[in-house]
């Protein structure tokens, strides 16, 4: 059952650091986060790592394991062979604070740049009526646990610091799609998606979808449809006009 695994963990603060080698016990059923915790408890009490739920629900423990963005709490040790060296590094797209902890404030900044849910003023709390089928699309996106691994992996910003100002990243482009598909949202989001939040930068490589621990089809269900909505808007004046009128009537069934 138990064996000793070889770990290489990034240690360092601010811009500096290096991979440090550890040999550490592994027991049946454990996940990578357990091993990091064992290191804390036995060999490196000041090893920094974020976590909360240990069940894939909070999105705190994002890290890169053998170069792949993963949740530490959902990566079972049994997916590695016993003689493999497991390399654990912080998310690459965000500045490192210490060890495995990165400064993810980029994401909170972007969240604030997206205009909030805008229901028609006439609908009072308790009066909302929506069919399951109409909420399901946005519900899929609301499964997001904000692990920010999709933003971490997206090539538009992964190695291009300069794009960060103009690109919200898949997480928040998906947030725009979520609101645009909300049956009661009356804000006009299409132009802004393209012009302010950088939807156009996305060239649908689907890397974001691949890493999403919630298995949200970010590219297929959010980004591509959102691109289509933008295009429809731009080339079809009738659709554009129709949307406007529809929205003003505040009927609460849209898109």
């Amino acid at each position: 059952m138990g064996y000793k695994a070889k770990f290489r963990v990034w240690r360092g603060e601010g811009g500096e650091g290096k991979l440090e080698d550890f040999t550490v016990e592994v027991n049946e059923g454990e996940v990578v986060l357990d091993i990091i915790h064992r290191l804390q408890a036995t060999q490196a009490p000041d090893l920094a790592v974020r976590w909360n739920c240990k069940a894939g629900k909070c999105g705190s423990c994002s890290m890169e394991i053998n170069g792949k963005p993963r949740l530490g709490c959902m990566t079972r040790m049994s997916t590695f062979t016993e003689d493999e060296t497991i390399t654990v590094t912080p998310m690459r797209t965000f500045p490192v604070i210490k060890d495995l902890v990165t400064d993810v404030s980029f994401n909170y900044q972007k969240a604030r740049e997206i205009p909030s849910f805008t229901p028609p003023a006439s609908v009072k709390p308790g009066e909302y009526r929506m069919q399951q089928i109409d909420v399901e699309r946005s519900q899929e996106f609301r499964k997001c646990i904000e692990c920010f691994m999709c933003n971490n992996v997206c090539h538009v910003i992964r190695d291009h610091e300069e794009n960060k100002t103009n690109f919200a990243g898949p997480r928040f482009l998906m947030r725009i799609a979520e609101l645009d598909m909300h049956p009661y949202d009356v804000a006009d989001r299409k132009d802004a998606a393209q012009e302010e939040h950088g939807l156009g930068y996305c060239n649908i490589t689907k890397c974001c979808t691949e890493v999403c621990p919630e298995h949200i089809k970010i590219t297929d269900n959010a980004l591509i449809p959102m691109k289509e909505r933008v295009v429809d808007r731009r080339y079809d004046p009738l659709v554009w006009l129709g949307n406007k009128i529809f929205k003003r009537s505040g009927s609460g069934s849209k898109g």
């Binding site: 894939g56 909070c58 705190s60 604030r112 909302y128 609301r142």
Partner: protein, 630 residues
């Protein structure tokens, strides 16, 4: 080193459901509000809640209303609840849920387009608003997005998004500061860089959640070190009902590293059944007398209930949590447990696979990823796990005010609402109802102040010395002390208790307190978890002592407190609350008895005499009879 300093009207400690709802309220009332939390914004414990938020909206069964919900809540808490809180909660929960919808929440729907509601243990009708089994995520994200919406408003109005509401994330408060009797601020440190931070504020809302990290087997995260409970105590407030801890009947038992992680009650609400190693649905053997007429006595009736609730009684798998947890404990002790020391929870033979995946997606995911178990094909193994503390800061029901002027509390850190046992789903609604009320209470308090209390330099110096002490020591690894505390509480003040073991636990805690004083933290101040834990130990030890002391005094069994040396429920004890206090340095923990105020006439008459008789004294019953005769 310089201490960073900020001035606010209201400082909310905690960014879970209760804290965010309180902060939103304070900001909506025009108060300059800070939210301080230990994790990133949006990651608080509330995110883990699965099943739903209880609110008698009557969308699925129109017979539901606040009175039924009130009765269920009181019953669940074995009539020890603060009835005023239970009343406010039942009356206001629907508005709070609808308000979330207006802020963008997308709950699952009924056929006619309303918010769908699901069954849960102890609730007479389908009552839990939910989104699959990730309701907590929806709740916290909606509130988080509401905070962002308010910030966007402030950006437009004042050119500064953080002018009226600002989040201080990954920041831990270690002391509340007082000037004379009243709150004057809070002191803490940034987890990220170890810098110290001071808030000048006349009103503080505690919304720090629970204490589960004092136990080994728990569904709670590292945040649950009882900080708010301890901060309140050290500031001179009182804690009530600390002996009542909810052990959720269904935590994962295997693999060891995930032991304790929650398996939502929705599994049972949606048809899952409990079996022992002999294949028997053993819950039928554990229906207590007080619930005999409310639960099915045969499997056939229980099964019919899922489709026809008007003509059948509910299956005993849906008894309140304390009953189910004790039953599982007893089965395992009697040698009828599963190989890994739990019992079987099976939904695979009860629902089609597609339906299981649709209704319980995160359970399906969790078991598959963490235990290699496909719940659509095989049963889960489950056992009790420390889940929720009913006890907490004693507050005024209407305003959330604690005994210390300027101190407010809401959510899991407050006590009273749930009595001796909380019903599933009643926490999320509690957060919203009392979060809002505490935010309003704090705002009104600030409005009524003539002058702001000033923070004294001595109190800051003392708080600073206390916070930095572990860094200056080269003592024992704090993880060792923590593990020992967890083992002690789990084994000696767990689900079944007795005087001897609890006394032993108190002795052990006393020794651990000494060891904690010597625990040191190697490394620097930048994101140093060893240092953080060394500071958390003070809180966990203090809270554990309260739990154990109260548990020793209460010589009866009720809800989340079971004494095998006093197995019965006592009507006399129902009238008594145990109130904990401590001195400012955390020594001299006291527990005093206090009379539980009698229920208001119009509320007690919502119950049948026959039911009350099971809980209240002859004397109280006579008063009730007189009341009814009037």
């Amino acid at each position: 080193m310089e201490i960073e300093r900020h001035e606010y009207d209201v400082v909310v400690i905690g960014a879970g459901g209760a804290g965010l709802r309180a902060a939103i309220e304070a900001r909506q009332q025009g108060k300059r509000t800070a939210i301080v939390c230990k994790s990133l914004f949006g990651k608080a414990h509330t995110v883990m809640a699965e099943g739903g938020a209880a609110a008698a909206m009557g969308n699925v069964n129109s017979d539901d209303n606040w009175m039924v919900h009130f009765r269920d809540t009181m019953r669940g808490g074995k009539f020890l609840n603060n009835w005023r809180m239970a009343e406010l909660h039942a009356k206001e929960a629907p508005d709070r849920v609808w308000e979330l919808e207006a802020w963008g929440a997308l709950f699952d729907r009924t056929k006619d387009g309303k918010i769908s509601q699901r069954n849960f243990g102890g609730h007479e009708y389908p009552r839990l608003a939910h989104v699959g089994d990730r309701t907590g995520l929806e709740l916290i994200r909606t509130l988080q997005q509401r905070v962002v919406a308010l910030q966007q408003e402030d950006e437009k109005l004042h050119g500064d998004a953080e002018a009226y509401i600002k989040v201080f994330q990954e920041c831990t408060v270690t002391r509340l500061l007082k000037s004379g009797d009243a709150i004057s601020g809070a002191f803490g440190y940034w987890r990220e860089n170890g810098r110290l931070i001071l808030f000048d504020a006349p009103a503080i809302v505690l919304a720090t959640g629970g204490i589960g990290k004092s136990y080994v087997v728990t569904s709670n995260s590292w945040e649950y070190t009882g900080d708010g409970h301890a901060l309140a105590l050290l500031a001179g407030a009182k804690l009530i009902n600390m002996e009542f801890i909810q052990f959720h009947p269904t935590g994962m038992v295997w693999p060891p590293s995930v032991r304790g992680i929650l398996v939502t009650e929705s599994v049972r609400g949606d048809g899952g059944v409990l079996r022992n190693s002999e294949g028997r649905r053993f819950m039928f053997d554990y229906i207590p007398d007080v619930f005999k007429d409310k639960y099915a006595t045969t499997e056939e009736e229980g099964d019919r209930w899922y489709t026809d609730q008007a003509n059948n009684r509910r299956p005993p798998e849906l008894l309140p949590r304390d009953e189910v947890a004790r039953a599982i404990n007893a089965e395992v002790k009697a040698g009828r447990g599963s190989p890994q020391g739990g019992v079987y929870l099976d939904v695979s033979t009860r629902l089609p696979a597609a339906e299981i995946i649709r209704r319980l997606p995160s359970m399906h995911h969790q078991f598959k990823e963490l235990a290699d178990v496909d719940i659509t094909k095989e049963p889960m193994q489950v056992g009790p796990t420390c889940h929720y503390i009913m006890g907490g800061v004693e507050v005024d029901a209407d305003t959330g005010a604690a005994a210390v002027p300027g101190l407010f509390a809401a959510g899991e850190v407050s006590g009273g609402m749930h009595g001796s046992n909380r019903l599933g789903g009643n926490s999320l609604s509690d957060l919203l109802v009392f979060g809002r009320r505490a935010g309003a209470g704090a705002s009104a308090y600030v409005d009524g102040l003539k002058a702001r209390p000033a923070v004294s330099e001595e109190s800051v110096a003392a708080a600073k010395a206390e916070a930095l002490a572990p860094l200056e020591r080269d003592g024992e690894n704090p993880y060792e002390v923590h593990h020992e505390l967890q083992r002690t509480m789990n084994e000696l003040v767990g689900i079944i208790r007795n005087a001897g073991e609890v006394t032993q636990a108190l002795e052990a805690v006393e020794k651990l307190k000494e060891r904690a004083k010597g625990a040191g933290a190697a490394g620097g101040r930048i994101y140093n978890p060893g240092w953080h834990l060394a500071l958390d130990l003070r809180n966990m030890l203090l809270v554990s002592e309260c739990v154990a002391r109260a548990a020793l005094l209460r010589e009866e069994s009720r809800g989340g407190h079971t004494r095998d040396d006093f197995p019965g429920m006592s009507a006399e004890w129902r009238r008594r609350l145990l109130v904990c206090g401590a001195s400012p340095d955390g020594s001299a923990v006291t527990v005093e008895e206090k009379a539980q105020p009698a229920m208001r006439d119009d509320l007690i008459t919502l119950f049948d005499r026959a039911e009350l008789k099971k809980y209240i004294t002859e004397e109280e019953l006579a008063d009730f009879d007189a009341l009814v005769r009037e």
